[in-house]
C-alpha cells in the first residue's frame, strides 16, 4: 500500500500527482498575488501553526494548509486551507483543479495520525451546505459554537476520516 495525494483537472478529470511539503517563505509570499488571503499575516505566522504546501511535480502550488495540534492530544485543528486562485471556488467558477479541499483535509488526518491524535481533526465548515455534507456524508460531529455568529465547528474521525484519507491509498 502506498499513499499518493492527487487532484484532478476540472476540465478533463485527469489526475495530477501532488507532493505535500512544509511551506517555505517564498510559498507563503506567493499568496500576495491574487490569493484569497495573505499567508504572511500575523495569524498565519503563528509558529504553533504548521504550514504545508501542496505542489505538482512541476512545482505549481495548488494549495496551502495550516494545521495545529490541540493542547490535550485530542485532535488536530485544520486552522485554514486555501486553494490556489485558479482552483478556489470562492474566486472562480471554472476551476483548474478539483478535489483540492478533500486532499488538504486528508493531509490533516495524516498529521493527526502521525502525531498520535488518532486521525481526529477539527475544523470550521465554510458554508451551511458543506456543514450538512460533512455531517451527513462523513459522519462529522458538530461542536457547540460558543461565539454568536461564529463558524460552525465540526469534529471528524473514524470512518469519515478513513473515507477521506482512503481515497489516496493505493
Amino acid at each position: 500500500m502506498r499513499l499518493q495525494y492527487f487532484v484532478t483537472k476540472a476540465d478533463s478529470g485527469e489526475q495530477v500527482l501532488i507532493a505535500m511539503e512544509p511551506a517555505m517563505k517564498n510559498d507563503l509570499e506567493a499568496t500576495k498575488n491574487g490569493w484569497q488571503s495573505d499567508w504572511t499575516s500575523d495569524f498565519i505566522s503563528d509558529p504553533r501553526l504548521e504550514k504545508y504546501a501542496a505542489k505538482t511535480e512541476a512545482g505549481e502550488i495548488v494549495a496551502l494548509g495550516a494545521y495545529r495540534e490541540d493542547d490535550h492530544g485530542i485532535s488536530v485543528f485544520i486552522a485554514d486551507i486555501e486553494a490556489q486562485p485558479e482552483s478556489n471556488p470562492t474566486l472562480t467558477k471554472k476551476r483548474r483543479y478539483a478535489g483540492v479541499g478533500r486532499m488538504m483535509i486528508a493531509y490533516g488526518i495524516q498529521l493527526s495520525i502521525d502525531s498520535g491524535h488518532g486521525g481526529v481533526v477539527t475544523f470550521a465548515a465554510k458554508t451551511d451546505e458543506l456543514y450538512e455534507h460533512y455531517v451527513n456524508d462523513f459522519h462529522a460531529v458538530p461542536i457547540f459554537q460558543p461565539f454568536p455568529g461564529g463558524p460552525k465547528l465540526l469534529m471528524l474521525a473514524d470512518e469519515g476520516a478513513q473515507e477521506i484519507f482512503g481515497a489516496y491509498l493505493f
Binding site: 486552522a79 476551476r95 479541499g101 481526529v120 477539527t122 475544523f123 470550521a124 465554510k126 455534507h133
Partner: protein
Amino acid sequence: MAEQELQVARMDEETMEYLNVLFSVCKRFNTDYYHADPKQRAFMDAVATHEYQLKKAHEKGLQRSAVPPFMGIVRSERSNNMPA
C-alpha cells in the same frame, strides 16, 4: 452530480483557544467527544463554555459575577465577589 468541493473556513485564535478548553474538559471527565451521546456532549459544551468564560474574565481581572452562573446556580454574594 459533480462531487461537492470540500472547503473549510479559517479557524480564528479565539476558537482554537475555546477548543483547547473543551478538550481539556473532555480529558478531565474522560469523555470521548466524538463517540459521546448528545447529553454527554451537551454537558461537555456547557462546562467548557463556562470555564472559557471564567478564563477570559480571570485574564481581565474581573470578579466571578462577570460570568453567568453555571446552569442557573444561585451564587452567594461572597462567591460573586471572588476573582473569576
